[in-house]
Subunit: 313 residues, 4 copies
C-alpha cells in the first residue's frame, strides 16, 4: 500500500456477505474495484500475484473465534502484511420470500454458524421451522431469491442485494457480536504509527523446550508490550506442534516493539511479521495505555547512556 492507495480489492465472497459490508467502510475501497473471491486462499493469492492491490479477509469473530484458514494462509506462502483492521457488527436478519409473514415460515436456510448464533430467536419465534444448512450467508439469501426456500438468515447486505423483505432485524443472540477483518497487501513500509496500533506476528517455537511459550510472553512483557490476543494453529506436522498468532499493542516503528521483536527473533524457531496497523477501537474503548518507562524517549535516553559507558564518555 506504498505510494498510492490500492484501487483493486479482493474480498471473501460471495457478494452480499459481511466481508463486502466491511470493505465498503473503507473510503478508497468504496470508490475502487471490488472483486469477490471464492475463498480466503483465492483472495490472498490475488494479492500475491498482483491481480489486486489488497484483500479483505476475516480474522476472527467474537462468537465463532479464529478464522483458521486466514491465519494459515497468512503464515505460509509469500509474505503478506496487514495494513488495516475493520471491525463490523454481525447483525443477522430474517429475509423471506415476497409477501410471506412470519407465521407462514416453515423452514429457514442458514450457514451453520449463523443459525447457531440465532438459536434463541429461532426457538422463540419459529419453534416449528426446520433449519437447513447452506455453505455461506450469501448462499442463504440467494436460495430465497431463487425460490428454493421461504426464508433465510443472512446479513442485511444480502437481503438488500436480492431485494428481499426483512421480517426481523438483529435476531442474533449476542446483539454485540462483531467480526474483525484484515486488509492485506504485499509487504511495504507499514502505515505511520498513530499511538494506538497493533502488531500481528506468527511465532514458531521449538517444542523440545519446556516453557517456550512462557519465554515468548516474557520477551513481550519485559519491553512493556501487551498481548491482546493469542491463537494457536497446528503446523500440520503432528498434533502438539503449533504456530502462535499474537496481536501485540504498539507499532514496529516503536523502540519497545522493535526490541521485543528482535528478542522473539532470537529465541524462536521462526517469527513472521504480519503487520503493524491502527487499532480499530470498538465503541466505548479507549487506547491501550502504554506501560511506564517504555516510550521511545525512555529507550533513547537509555541508548545515549549506554553509548557513554561504552566510549568512556
Amino acid at each position: 500500500m506504498s505510494a498510492s492507495s490500492p484501487t483493486r480489492y479482493a474480498y471473501l465472497g460471495p457478494e452480499g456477505t459481511f466481508a463486502e459490508q466491511a470493505l465498503i467502510t473503507i473510503p478508497a475501497a468504496e470508490q475502487g474495484v471490488r472483486i469477490p473471491a471464492r475463498s480466503v486462499p483465492e483472495a490472498l493469492d490475488a494479492v500475491r500475484d498482483g491481480s489486486v492491490d489488497a484483500a479483505l479477509v476475516p480474522l476472527e469473530n467474537s462468537i465463532g473465534g479464529q478464522v483458521g484458514v486466514t491465519l494459515d494462509e497468512l503464515a505460509s506462502g509469500h509474505e503478506l502484511v496487514i495494513v488495516r483492521e475493520v471491525v463490523i457488527p454481525v447483525q443477522f436478519v430474517l429475509a423471506a420470500g415476497p409477501g410471506l409473514t412470519l407465521g407462514e415460515i416453515d423452514s429457514v436456510v442458514a450457514h451453520p454458524q449463523a443459525s447457531a448464533q440465532c438459536r434463541r430467536w429461532l426457538r422463540a419465534h419459529l419453534p416449528g421451522a426446520a433449519v437447513i444448512d447452506v455453505l455461506s450467508n450469501g448462499a442463504a439469501a440467494a436460495a430465497v431469491a431463487a425460490g428454493e426456500s421461504p426464508a433465510a438468515i443472512c446479513a442485511p447486505i444480502g437481503a438488500a442485494r436480492h431485494g428481499l423483505p426483512v421480517l426481523a432485524k438483529e435476531i442474533a443472540d449476542h446483539p454485540d457480536a462483531v467480526t474483525r477483518f484484515a486488509l492485506v497487501t504485499r509487504p511495504g513500509p507499514p502505515p505511520e504509527p498513530t499511538g494506538d496500533d497493533l502488531t500481528t506476528l506468527a511465532v514458531y517455537i521449538s517444542h523440545d523446550e519446556v516453557g517456550a511459550l512462557l519465554a515468548v510472553l516474557t520477551e513481550l512483557a519485559v519491553r512493556g508490550v501487551n498481548l491482546t490476543r493469542i491463537e494457536s494453529r497446528p503446523t500440520g506436522e503432528r498434533l502438539g506442534r503449533y504456530a502462535f498468532f499474537l496481536d501485540c499493542t504498539g507499532h514496529v516503528a516503536e523502540a519497545r516493539v522493535g526490541e521485543a521483536l528482535m528478542g522473539l527473533r532470537r529465541i524462536c524457531a521462526d517469527v513472521r511479521f504480519l503487520g503493524s496497523y491502527p487499532r480499530a477501537a470498538q465503541p466505548g474503548e479507549s487506547p491501550v495505555p502504554q506501560p511506564a518507562r517504555t516510550t521511545d524517549a525512555d529507550f533513547a535516553a537509555a541508548t545515549a547512556w549506554l553509548e557513554k559507558l561504552r566510549t568512556g564518555r
Copy 2:
C-alpha cells in the same frame, strides 16, 4: 463413568464419519449402543440429560486445528469431563458410483475441510473435476450412494457403510494427519493415574490485568507442569475476551498438578476442570518426562518438613 463402564454412546454423526471410526476403537463402545448425534451440542446434551452414558466428540485436527464448538460446549452448561482421548489417522479416500473409473469423474462432493486437505491430489489426478461443497464427510458418501454425485471424498468407513467402490486411498496432502477425539461423561472420580496423563482446563482471566496469561503459565511452570496445548476461544462478550483451554501434563491426583490447579483457581477469574485422562501417545512418542523435584514423593517430603517447622518438631 462411575461404577460400571458406559454402555450407551453418542458420537458426532452422521454415521460413516471419522467419529464413528474413532468410537469403535474403544472396546466397550464397540460392544455397546452407538447413537449418532446431529451436532456436538446434541451429543453433549445427551450426556447431560442422562440419555447416554458418554459421548465422543472431536477436539482438534492436526491440519484444521481446534474444533471450536466442542470447546465452547465443554466450557458452558452443566459440567462434563473428559475421561479418555482417542487419536485416529484421517485418511481420505475417493469413493465413486458403481462401475466408474477415475477418468469418468467430472465432479466430486466433499466437505470443504476435506477437499482443502486433498488439494494437491485433486490437482494432480482430477484437474478438471468440479468440487461441490457439502456439509459433512458422511453427507458426501451418502450423496454418491443416492446417485446425486459421481464421486466423494470421504472417510474409509463412509465408503464401506454405503458399499461404494474406492478409487483411491490415502489421498490427503498430509499423510500423517490425525484427529483427536474426547470421550466425555458426567463428572465423577477421574480415571486412575497412569504416569502419562493429561489434564484439560478452561481458564478465564481478568483482562484488566497486564500479564495475566504470563501469570497463568508461571503457575504451571513453577510446579513443573508442562503445557502441551493452548487454545483460545472468544467468550462472546466482545472482541479481546477469551477463555483459554489448556492441556497440561499430569493428573489431578498428582501433587504438582493439584497445587498448580489451586494456584490457577486463586488467580483466575474462573477455572473449569475438564478432566484428567491417559495420554494417547502417537506412534513414536514417549511419555512426557516429568521435571526433577516434582514427584509426589518430593511434595510429601516438603509437606513433612513444613509440618515440623510449624509445630517446632
Copy 3:
C-alpha cells in the same frame, strides 16, 4: 521460648554497647539475667548448650549493613530460630574525661564503624583531633574511663555505665540510623501470627543452574510472599558460592508462606528456616499489605475445590 519465657539472656557484649541497650527494651529481659558474650558465636553457643534461654545478636545496621558473623552462625551448627526482632536507634555521643571541654580534646577513640558514621561531625567540631581505632564501642568508653584517652565516640549506655560526661549527643551523620537485633532461641513452636510478621530463611542454590536465584524469587512471588531483604554470604567453598538470607513477609503458619517454603525446599539445594516473628515496625511504617487472593481463606477455598475434583464430588 517454648512454655515459659526465657529468664537467662546472652547478648553481644561488652556491657555498655547497643546490644545491651536493645535487650533491656524487652520486658522479660529487663527483669531476667543478662550475660554479655565476647562474640556472636559465644552468645549463640550459649543458647545451643542450654546455658542461656535466648541470645540477642545484631543482624544488620542501616548504615553498615549485614552483620556477617551472625548470619554465618545462624546458618551453621545446630538449628536456632529467631523469635523476635528489636530495632533501636544508633545515636552516638561524644563522652569525655571529667572536666574536659570540647576545645581541649585532641584525640578520640572509636570503633572504626562509629567514627565512619560520625565523619561529618568530627570534621566540623574536632577537625584537628586524631581518631584512634578501638575494637568496640564499649572499649572506647572504657578507654576514657581508664584515662587512656581524653574522649570516645560511644553509645549513650556506654557513657552512662562509666559515669562519663557527654560533651555532644546525636553526633552521627545519619540521625535516623538504626540497628536491628534478633532474639534467638532453640527451635520450638514459633510465636503466634500477628498479621504483620516476617519469616527469615537461609537458602542454598545449586550454582550449576542458570537462573537459580530467579527461580527462588519466583517461588515467593507466585504465592504473594514479598521479599523485604536479601543478603548473600559466601559458603566458604570458593568465590561465587553463596547462601542467601531472605526476609519474607508473612508467617510460616500462613498457607501462602507454607506453600512458598515447600516450593523452595523442593527446588533449592538446601533451605534452613530461621524463624517467623512479629515485624518491629519502624516509626511511620504501616503493615506490609498482603497481595490479593493469598489469604488463608483463599487457599482453603482452593483446597476444597481441588478435593471435589479429585473425588468427583
Copy 4:
C-alpha cells in the same frame, strides 16, 4: 587508564597486607609507584583527585564475604570504574619474634577476621595462647617486629617485610580461601572484551514496587546475561532500603549486555556502571558458557531483520 597504563597506584594499606601482595601481581604496578592508603575511602579519593592513577581495594573474601566499605564508596561520590580484578589466596602464617619456638608462644596478635579464619589451627597448636585483637594484618606483623607481642597471624608478605621468622604456614581453616580485589580508575573506555568478562553494576530499585528485584533479574535473564554475584548494601535512608551490587557475565561492549543494561536503566530508580573487565578465572575454572542465541552475531541478525520490517525492505 586511558592512553598509557597507570604508573601511580594506591592500595589498601598498611604495607605488608594482602592488598600489597595482590597489587604486585600486576606487572605495571610491580614496576610503578605503590602508595599505601589508610582506608578504602582514602585510596579511592586518591584516584578521584588524580593523585594516583589507580587503586587496588578488596571487594570480597571467600570466607568473610563482602567488603561493605568498598561497595559503599564505589556507589557514592564521583564515578569510578573497575578495570581489572585480582584474586589471590589468603594463606595465613604464624610469624614470631626472633629465636622463639612454637612452645614458647603464650599470646598471638591478629586481626579478628584472621584469627577467626585460623580458629581450628589455634585450638590444635596453641590451645593455651591468648589471642589479642588488632586492627589489620599489617599491624599484627608490625607489633611483633616492635617487640610488643611474641607472635602474629599475618600475610606472608607481612612476615617478609619485617624479616620475621615463620613458625607455621597455611594455617587457615579453609586452605582455599581467596580474596578478590578490584583495580579502580577514573571512567574511561573499558578494557577490550576478551570473551570471558564480568560487568559490575550498582542498581537501586523502587521499594514501593512488589517484585522489583525479580524484574531486575528477569531483565538479565531475558538477554542471556548470567548473574555470578549479588550483594545488598543499605542505602542509609532506613532499614529495608538497599542498593544491589551485581556481577554479570559479559562485557558492556557486547550486544546482550548492552541491551540488558538499557533495560535496567529504564526500570530501575538508578543504575551505576562499575566497569567491564576480564574475569580472573580461579584454578580449574573454565569460562562461563554464553547461552545460545545471545552472541553479537545473533543480535546483529535480529537488528538487520527488524530494519527490513520497518522499511518494508
